[in-house]
Subunit: 208 residues, 2 copies
Amino acid sequence: MPLEIPEVVIDRLPVYFRLLSGLQSRGVGVVSSQELGDALGVTPAQIRKDLSYFGRFGKQGRGYSVDRLAEELRLILGLDRRWKVVLVGVGRLGRAIASYRGFDPQGFDIVATYDVNPEAQSAGMDDLEVRDISRLEEDLAAQQIDIGIVAVPAGEAQAVIDRLIAGGVNSILNYAPIAAQVPPHVQVRQIDPVLALQGMTYHLRRRG
Amino acid sequence: MPLEIPEVVIDRLPVYFRLLSGLQSRGVGVVSSQELGDALGVTPAQIRKDLSYFGRFGKQGRGYSVDRLAEELRLILGLDRRWKVVLVGVGRLGRAIASYRGFDPQGFDIVATYDVNPEAQSAGMDDLEVRDISRLEEDLAAQQIDIGIVAVPAGEAQAVIDRLIAGGVNSILNYAPIAAQVPPHVQVRQIDPVLALQGMTYHLRRRG
DNA sequence: CCTTGTGAAATAGTTCACAGCA
DNA sequence: TGCTGTGAACTATTTCACAAGG
């Protein structure tokens, strides 16, 4: 693991990991970079190069052990432990996020949810309590939270993000349609379907 | 507009457009690339270079007219018309997508929704009818659909995407956690919060 | 002055192509 | 033979830096 690893590489590792998990559950024992590339629509060289930043996981002439490579990626990505997540904003979108079954099996625990109007929003929340957002600071002080998911309206999002960061949360998954301003030590990822659609219409406009 | 425009540039235009829309509604008349860059956390040079692929929209010594630049981007991105969208999969996630208020004001009309179990899923769908997915092909033949949003379980997603493409839909917004296989003329964007979280845990693991 | 638009320079990222090993 | 791991070559993207215009 010598040099600085490009962010684009890191963002591809979860994709590889997910594919390998699928191969594992289908009982595949060995896979080549060619096969991985075919399944993902990327070049085999890219996969080999990406993995080479982290170590030598393959066997010449054979390929990669699916179990071994999945385990290595699990460690590299920090998926060998569970992560504590809070969700702020429990409107329609927030409720969909809270009830999404995909986080738990990957090690993400939504340990608390917050809203400005906790009683109104509690309806339809399976088991999770919705806490008043005024409690955010004291709760963050009481327990280390790794990741904050923001699902409040655009107008409140920056303030919520600032409060999360002040409380020591330095990874933010932002569903609000704003370009969040954060200090350099904080990482933000944006989930934004409208931006994705607007990138597609550019191409639709010409090709058809 | 001479040469081939990089995809990364196109993906930033919607971000610029959104910021400009906000400035417009706040009554800001003129903005510099420096100010735009400050608001978005990118360099002013990048904004100027990106815009220069499409024309000369600024005034030296002054900056950009917010109205003018917003209008130019609207045209470039094809946002001066409405786009027809179908949504396949009306489970918890699909219902949240169907009821999201952010698509309509940006020109995206969800004209139909589909599910394998339309009666069960209709509960809680405000106004939109849920049609049986077996009708997908005939409906796509009857009217040109621009974009398909896929919100079905992972196991069914590739089949749904294939059916959309066969029906002439060549832009796909995929919420299912799979790496979709599509022919070169089809564009896919992935909305995948778990991949985003897994990219973040890589960094959490080291820095803290 | 101030700020754009843009070639040129610098960086970043991808793909090639092949030595080396099972 | 088949496939990895990796420098080197190539391609893409960003940033610099400055002429030119208001």
